[in-house]
Each structure stands twice: as C-alpha cells, then as structure tokens.
C-alpha cells in the first residue's frame, strides 16, 4: 500500500526559536508550539521543543517531543484534543495517558485524528514530580 504523505503546515520548526515564558505554557517551549499546548499547573522542567504535524491519508498525525530538562524523573499526564474547522471538538476526546520521562530524556508522543474533519489540535497535559 503506497502511503500518501502530505505536509500540512511544514513541520513547526521551532528548535531555537527562542524560549517563551508565557503563562500556562511550559517554559522553554517555543511560542508556536506553546500555542498548541494547554498546560494544567506547572511544567516542572518539562519542555516541548518540537512538534511535527502532517496530513497522511486524509487524517492528521501529530508527533510532539517532550524533554525533561532535569536529572529527576517526571510523570506526565496528557491527551490530544482534535478540533474541526469551527474549533469544535471532534469525537468524544481521547483518553488520558500517563508517561514517565526520565531525567534528560526526550519522549515522543504521537496521535492520529480519528476523523478527517480534524484540522487542528491541542495537547492537554500536566506534570507531576516524583
């Protein structure tokens, strides 16, 4: 099966795009990425240096790199929320997921929109220290 692979909006090239310390977004996360993140509480040294978004076979696929900038482990609870062109949520919403990010580790989160009407997304997350 030949895969069609369309670039949606050119990977959000944000490495080194300048750290932004906005309220409610992880410190050290570029502004373009931070706009897609809904952080609950403190980021606790977790940053999202890069997100890649593609439209593959008519569905949106997103990958987000999550980096722990400290020596100690962090527990992250997250889910992606898919939105249609009017900003409404598509479907019932994903289940929450738990992931451990070891000290100075980068974990990649991936999600696929379950309907072709999804054109945007938000990454909801909160970070617990261990």
């Amino acid at each position: 099966m030949k895969l069609r692979h369309f670039l949606l909006c050119g990977a959000l090239a944000m490495i080194g795009a300048g750290a932004m310390a906005q309220s409610g977004t992880p410190t050290g996360t570029p502004a373009a990425v931070a706009a897609k993140v809904q952080l609950r509480g403190e980021a606790n040294d977790i940053v999202i240096p890069e997100m890649r978004i593609v439209r593959r076979n008519d569905v949106m696929v997103v990958q987000a790199d999550m980096k722990n900038t400290t020596d100690s482990n962090r527990t992250v609870f997250y889910r992606f929320r898919w939105l249609d062109s009017s900003g409404s949520q598509v479907g019932d919403g994903e289940s929450w997921k738990q992931i451990t990010v070891l000290g100075h580790q980068i974990q990649t989160l991936k999600s696929v929109a379950l309907h072709s009407s999804a054109v945007d997304f938000r990454l909801e997350m909160n970070v617990e220290t261990q």
Binding site: D58, V59, K97
Partner: protein, 198 residues
Amino acid sequence: MIKASILALAATLLLSACATGVQSPVVRFDRQVNYGDAKSVELVTNEFGSSDLQMIAEKMVGSLLETGIFQGRPTVTISTVKNKTSEYVDTTNVMNSIQTALVKSGKVRFTRSINEMQAGVDELQRQNQSGLYKSKTTAKVGQMTAAKYSMEGELTSIVKQNNTTKDVFYKFTLKLFDVEEGTIEWQDEKEIRKTSKR
C-alpha cells in the same frame, strides 16, 4: 428607621441563604458516590482496565487510518479475539471500541461478524418466510456483501512478581487479513507495562 429594618431583614435572609446553600438535583444517600471522567487514567490495580482498553483501541484505529489501507471504503468483518492472559478480559469490548471508532471515521464498512450473523439470518427469514410483508419491501436473500478483510486480535501477558513488586506486560496484536488471498495486509501491536509496589 423603616429603611434600617428592611436592610437588616435583607441581610438576615442573605446570611441564611448562604448558610444552607442550594441543593443539587441528585438522589444521594450516606455513601459518597460521584460520576468520574471515563477517560481518566485508571490506576486502581495493575489488572487489565479501562485505560488499557482505550489506549489499545486508539493506537490500533490511528494506525489503521494512517496507513490508508481503507482507501475505497472496503468491507471488514471482526473475526476472533483471543485472550491468552491469565485474567478474564472481555476482548469483545476491545474490538467493539475499535469498530466504533472506525465506523465513525467513515473510512470503512463493517459486515456482520460470525456472532452477529444469526440475528441477520433470522430477520431475513422473518421478512421472506413469514408472509407478513409486502414482497416489494422485503430484503432479498443472497444480497449480503462479503467482507474483503477480516480482523483478528490477540491479547497476551507476561507477569513477574516478587515480594514487593508486580510487573505486568500486556501485548495486544491486531491483524488484518485479505479474506480472498489469505495474506496479512496490515498488522500492529500495542504494548503496555504496569508495575505496582506493595
């Protein structure tokens, strides 16, 4: 004088309202029961739970849609789902979640599975053999669409335990077979590790 009395009365009413508060429209007894978020991470025990089911379904559906194997809206049927763990797990539930998400995506059509077939046959016989229906309106026998693909799943687990720690590793494997050719056209798996300490 009158104005002062009205103000005092209003303050008293306000205070009493604050003290009692409004009652929510619920029937509640002594035991505290609340509705929770069905999508929350369930960490009650490390046995197979709702979060595992949801994560498996999301991963499998995402993987299927991403590959584009469903271009042309083919027909699919659910075949067996084997539970090879030591736990009782209703594997039908996992397949139901996968099927629901795929149907809602609009990318695929599902035909009746083996378990659902008898109900379909019964309805066809009722329409065609009971003599109750106008012949123009009855569903014709022999017009069902056969499935191009068959979906088969398997859940396995590896459990390791010592005095303080229990580690459970689940693996759900899903395969999509081309019925005519007997070939595997797509396959993916979801691994889940759950560790608990006493």
